[in-house]
């Protein structure tokens, strides 16, 4: 299985304090039953300097995370994943079911952002996923710009979370993103090439 990356043993806020310009590597777990799509998403993520773990089913994803109830001792410390990207239509456990299982966790796993990918632009499907807590719904084929945007968002969010945790210390960041409690939107309203969907209202912008 995965070799634990030393980077993730360190406390993120501490890292940011020591060297604010060093971006720790994002570990992404990608789930897709299609071999071709797994290869493509893996490449997209590697080009984006992410550490990638790819599995072919929801069941395997849960196993990897240690949530399948079998390896109770593994849990959070052994495997740290910063983002889960899952295909929607998969045999056995769908991406939606995987999403639900993760969001129903009473542990930190619930906080891992989950992005659902699908080749089908079905409104009810999108709504369901977003309601269940999906971070974003991406239309396939996923583009590099989708991954870049996603990565930026996750990184910025981690910084904010780190700052909130160490709120006593004053720290200046070079990236200059404003401190805000509300979630920033993943897709900018003026971005015509955006293929992500945040709400039913923005479905029209989604690429078919």
């Amino acid at each position: 299985m995965a070799i634990v990356d030393e980077v993730f043993r360190q406390n993120l806020p501490e890292m940011m304090e020591e060297s604010p310009c060093v971006a720790p590597q994002l570990h992404v777990l990608a789930v897709d039953d299609s071999l071709v799509d797994r290869k493509v998403i893996e490449r997209l993520l590697k080009i984006s300097s992410c550490k990638v773990t790819v599995v072919d089913s929801g069941t395997r994803a849960l196993q990897y995370l240690g949530l399948d109830g079998e390896n109770g001792s593994l849990g959070f410390d052994s495997v740290k994943v910063n983002l889960i990207m899952t295909d929607y239509s998969m045999p056995g456990m769908t991406g939606y079911e995987l999403l639900k299982k993760i969001k129903q966790e009473s542990s930190v796993f619930r906080e891992i952002p989950v992005v659902v990918m699908s080749s089908e632009n079905v409104l009810t499907r999108i709504d369901r996923c977003l309601e269940e807590g999906a971070e974003e719904f991406l239309l396939k084929p996923v583009k590099l710009s989708d991954v870049t945007r996603l990565k930026d968002f996750i990184m910025r969010r981690k910084v904010k979370e780190g700052e909130k945790r160490s709120h006593k210390r004053r720290r200046s960041l070079d990236c200059g993103s404003p401190l805000s409690i509300t979630c920033s939107p993943l897709s900018h309203p003026c971005d015509p090439s955006s293929s992500s969907v945040l709400s039913p209202l923005s479905t029209k912008k989604a690429r078919l």
Binding site: L35, V36, D37, V40, I47, S89, P141, K143
Partner: protein, 151 residues
């Protein structure tokens, strides 16, 4: 001299594939993922696609040969998978045939399914030949032609 000629031919060939509607933007997106360390990524993906989808093709073929009435749900599910992979490599025309097939499935039109599947197989085979020629030429032309990244 030979290499330059190859490169010109390669560009022309690619343009032709686009003009004929065989490939779409996704193919370009894939080419942009190539770099010096991975100069043949698209060829690898396409090879994988043909190898992996042949299984789906024979499953669909098998399902179409089975007893009538056809299991349209099963056929639609299989075709959905096939369409997904085809879309991921930018196979525009093949993808369009997939959509047509699925429409026939939803309409419960067995005749339509069989006809469109024949057409789909033709497009699928034709694209394979053309892409094989393209990648062969790409190898001759050298990595600079298709790789868009410096690192």
């Amino acid at each position: 001299m030979d290499r330059n000629q190859s490169r010109r031919q390669l560009t022309a060939m690619k343009q032709s594939l686009f003009d004929q509607g065989l490939l779409d933007e996704q193919f370009v997106q894939l080419e942009e993922l190539q770099d010096d360390a991975n100069p043949n990524f698209v060829e690898e993906i396409v090879t994988l696609y043909y190898r992996d989808s042949s299984r789906l093709i024979s499953n669909i073929e098998q399902a179409l040969k089975e007893r009538t009435p056809l299991d349209f749900n099963k056929l639609d599910t299989l075709m959905h998978q096939f369409k997904g992979s085809s879309s991921s490599i930018g196979a525009k025309k093949v993808k369009a045939e997939c959509n047509l097939f699925r429409e026939y499935c939803r309409a419960g039109n067995a005749e339509g399914c069989m006809k469109s599947f024949q057409q789909l197989k033709k497009e699928y085979a034709a694209l394979r030949k053309k892409l094989e020629a393209y990648f062969q030429l790409a190898r001759q032309a050298g990595p600079q032609e298709t790789a868009c990244r410096s690192k």
